[in-house]
Amino acid sequence: MEIPKSAVNDESRRRAEDAALAALVDRYAGALYRVAFSVLRNAADAEDAVQEAFLRVLRHRHSLGEIRDHRVWLIRIVWNIVLDRKRRAKTRPETDDVDELARVLPSAGLSALQLSAAAEHHSHVLACVDRLPPKERQVLVLSAFDELTSVEISSILGITESSVRSRLFRARNLMAGLLDHERSLR
């Protein structure tokens, strides 16, 4: 996404920046949407977050050439946006996770009853994820993205790689405990 040095003219430089931004949208909008959806769990909110992230990039498009890893940089932007939105959304009533999940989850080869049961199970798991401490929850959510390595997660969260590992360890232990406790109550 390097802007050519020959673009000394303002007009051509602006065009180069626009082209670079358009390429970023085409390439990473989907990944950013998935990151946003994993936290917000609402399609419209996630799309809003993606648009807001690219609007922020538009404001800083002059410094696009200085960014080393655009993917991590963009995920970090959208991550901060969704965390901010999530914090603000605590005052609003929560959306019904079961219905939303039943709508978005893949339903190929599943009956309506199975789909409903699967959505309820996932919703239950997500409720347990929400009960985790924020630091552990963030690492656990980001670790679910196959394309993100531990180094990239540490870069997104602004912590060391060893902290990522220890937090993930704690998160998995806590999740196992929470789910076990829930099963024993049933």
Partner: protein, 181 residues
């Protein structure tokens, strides 16, 4: 170490140590959500949002012919603003200096009999109160003193208020005039 956290070989002992079936089912849910496809037309909508922001974002813009000389015009405008502000400030400063030099300093005379730093009465005079009118003070008439030889009659006991008072009066004999004298 650039490793994937879900690859047991890559992430070392972490995922191996706590790879219980319970927590792995939870991670399965998270991975399922992480793999959800983006809605169709997301990129187009983002492009449209960026275009509309670009159009509405520029409220003031240089005219097209002046746009070529953008840097020169900005520099000239900045220099003109600095010149006007600095010149205005200098003008006010010199004007005040001249005014102070031309006029003699006025000194306000202090009234007589006033110590420096004290307050004056500002010529105010005391007016006596006339509305209530003068009050006449009458001399107090004193009763003539009784002769020294005469004894006072014994004090009569106070009227009994309660039974306790009666018993007290019964216990303490009243002073009687001495009949032997």
């Amino acid at each position: 170490m650039n490793s994937n956290l879900h690859n047991p070989k890559a992430s070392g002992s972490v995922s191996v140590a706590v790879s219980g079936s319970i927590s792995s089912s939870a991670e399965e849910t998270l991975r399922l959500i992480a793999c959800l496809p983006a809605p169709a037309g997301l990129e187009d909508r983002v492009h449209a949002a960026l275009r509309s922001t670009r159009r509405s974002g520029r409220v003031l813009a240089w005219p097209k012919p002046l746009n070529q000389l953008n840097d020169w015009m900005r520099t000239a405008a900045a220099a003109a603003i600095v010149f006007v502000v600095a010149g205005g400030g200098w003008g006010v400063y010199t004007h005040v200096q001249k005014g102070q030099q031309g006029q003699p300093i006025k000194v306000i005379a202090m009234p007589h009999g006033l110590q420096p730093g004290g307050f004056s009465g500002a010529g105010a005079m005391r007016t006596p109160q006339t509305l209530p009118g003068p009050t006449v003070i009458l001399p107090i008439e004193r009763e003539p003193a009784p002769p020294k030889g005469e004894k006072k009659p014994a004090a009569r006991p106070a009227p009994a208020k309660a039974g306790r008072a009666q018993t007290a009066s019964a216990a303490i004999p009243t002073a009687q005039p001495d009949s032997s004298q």
